[in-house]
Amino acid sequence: MKEELSGQIADEIREHRILVYGKGTKQAPRCGFTLETVQFFDDLGYPFEVLDVLANQDKRDALSEMTNWPTLPKVFINGKFYGDTDILAPMLESGELQRILDEAFAASPSK
């Protein structure tokens, strides 16, 4: 069960250049922070995916354990964990996020 979940998460992270695990969906966020994250990436203009894990406690536990990060949303870019917008906003200001995005989207095209 646990291995299955880790495998599933690894696949999802690989599949999407920018992936947000959140509460609710892109169209219907069910948490203020998930909404903020959707707006953050909408503004940036890069394609991103939001996966709703609100009702899936096992997957939330697996994600928290894997990232050593207790809260949702959780953002992955190019397979790497970056926390949430409290981390990403200062990274955007410093220019670091742009470098990471350039690198992520310069590689072979993906969704």
Binding site: F33, N68, W69, G83, D86, I87, P90, M91
Partner: protein, 78 residues
């Protein structure tokens, strides 16, 4: 519900020198903006700085006294 003093004291168990500012976002004392400055952050990536705070506040987040936080961390100069 949790008070500013309780938040500050939890954070100071991990970072004794921390300056902690809080703002109650909703008036319900369970959604806070928290700003922490500490020498303990210096040289650490932002992700690890935030992990220190989440660890310190872990109990309060888990039992629901604290529902959500918006966090800003900053290294204090030595």
């Amino acid at each position: 519900m949790i008070t500013h003093e309780e938040i500050e004291s939890l954070i100071r168990t991990a970072l004794p020198d921390a300056s902690v500012e809080t703002r109650d976002r909703t008036g319900t004392r369970d959604h806070y903006n928290i700003r922490v400055r500490s020498r303990g952050f210096s040289g650490k990536p932002l992700l690890d700085q935030h992990r220190i705070i989440y660890d310190a506040l872990g109990g309060a987040l888990k039992d629901g006294r604290l529902h959500a936080i918006e966090l800003k961390t900053e290294a204090k100069e030595l």
